[in-house]
Amino acid sequence: MELTDLTLHEMIRQLREGEITSVALTEASLARIDATDKNLNAFITICRDEAIEAARAADARLAQGDAPMLTGVPVALKDIFITEGIRTTCASKILASFIPPYDGTAVRKLKELGAVIVGKLNMDEFAMGSSNENSAHGPVRNPWNVDRVPGGSSGGSAACVAARQVPASLGTDTGGSIRQPASHCGVVGLKPTYGRVSRYGVVAFASSLDQVGPLARNVRDCGIMLQAVAGYDPADSTSVDTPVPDYLAGLEGGVKGMKIGLPQEYFVSGLDPEVKHAVDQVVEVYRSMGAEVVEVSLPHTRYAVSCYYLIATAEASSNLARYDGVRFGERVDPGKGLKDMYTATRSQGFGDEVKRRIMLGTYALSSGYYDAYYLKAQKVRTLIRNDFLAAFEEVDCILTPVAPTPAFALGDKTADPLQMYLSDIFTLSANLAGICGMSLPCGRAEDGLPIGFQLLGKPFAEADLLRTGYAYEQTQEWHTARPVI
């Protein structure tokens, strides 16, 4: 067994017991990246020197015995996290050489807890995409089959964990961007409740939907990472000041007597039979462990994609106005005045999908259309949220597929944006409703591609999700499978 095969909690234990060093772990991680990333393209930036230096410091701390939770563990960050002194591109040409002067809150917390950041991960440009094909640095490949997409937008964050380049990573989830790639790559991904993790220092896509979350090889490791980054942050007005529980304390509590809801609207035509079969199996496992599984209804599900794409693009069109070539980023100046500089900078700096969404969002907010599109979508958002709140009156959590199909082939959906958007159908409601959700591996399609299922929980009930997921995981081996790269 190689060092990189260790899971996050195994690494933590062995580091503390002196069985391994952080330098050895970090070097192994970097070597694994060197060996595999030509095929995967999961990383945009590798922080070799900084990582080794941090690993040395971690070993010194471990030797002194005062090391915090993540000391010495190599992790990687989606390139949407602002990192002081380390290039942060958001997979966009427009930020090709942007070196931030500050650390975001999640990054600062990881550093304070001793984590070793080995690099910045590839993604869809500005987190806009479901396949990781919208990257200025080229697509990320699925470790289980390099002709398939890894999912998106946190494709690099999922692929790097599946390929055992690092034991855990951070991603962001605006409409499924953690859960869907986790599902496609056979790892565990958790989107916390809106407001649970600070967004300060995370490049904004859609501010009312974006949320930071962990990806790891198993539920426990996800819990450890969530513990590290969760909590109120006065620098983020939308962060919620509610206590963070000990996510690992109740992990082994089981699901006996628990009520799990199956939303009938999620099991309809368009759902791949293999996916449906895998999720049905999960339901049986829960029943066998003593959980009660009942049908619930989320009647406004079919409106979620429309609602989501109006709100997300409207917010994005405004969030991306700051990329104007004045204070940072790449400038293109044709020398014909200010307005042309703006237009050239933005037209050449942004990729097609980003421009398409800016256009859609600008249109939805523009004079005469605001009420019909943006305001209408915000009202429908209320209905969707109410669906979930009503369902949670009856059940403790909700079980659904993550994506209608396993990972599709590169290039399959790039020509039809709407079809790509519709593939987010099962994940984006959680963002609209602000609730927490987790994706876990639960099977393999005939061609070997991973299939995942999703657990959705009440606001701030991440501990329930982790406990429920953990109970299932203990009966299965899907999460221990290792792709051959």
Binding site: Y194, S208, Y309, R327, G337, A377, T382
Partner: protein, 97 residues
């Protein structure tokens, strides 16, 4: 085509967003936006009369900071990423008043 949006509107929106597209791109975008807008038209099936809009899914109010000075990052760091700077300022093409 469902005619939710015209080429001219696409060009107008592009100007608002400080983006420019080739004629072929405008054609493609017009078609794509049209399809998407036709799809989102489904929201009109729902009666939202009297429904409060949701800005944040989590109920939040009153986040403040005290009026106390914290450290600025300094001119050098502020300008470090600027494509053009001079005299401690960001440089931009001449702005005509």
């Amino acid at each position: 085509m469902a005619d939710k949006i015209t080429r001219e509107e696409v060009e107008h929106v592009a100007r608002l967003a400080r983006l420019e597209f080739s004629p072929a791109e405008v054609d493609a975008l017009t078609g794509q936006m049209d399809t998407i807008l036709a799809h989102v038209e489904q929201l009109n099936e729902l009666d939202t009369e009297g429904v409060e809009p949701t800005s944040h899914a989590v109920t939040l109010e009153n986040a403040f900071r005290p009026d106390a000075v914290t450290h600025s990052i300094g001119v050098d760091k502020a300008l470090k990423n600027a494509p053009l700077h001079a005299d401690g300022c960001f440089g931009v093409p001449k702005v005509i008043e």
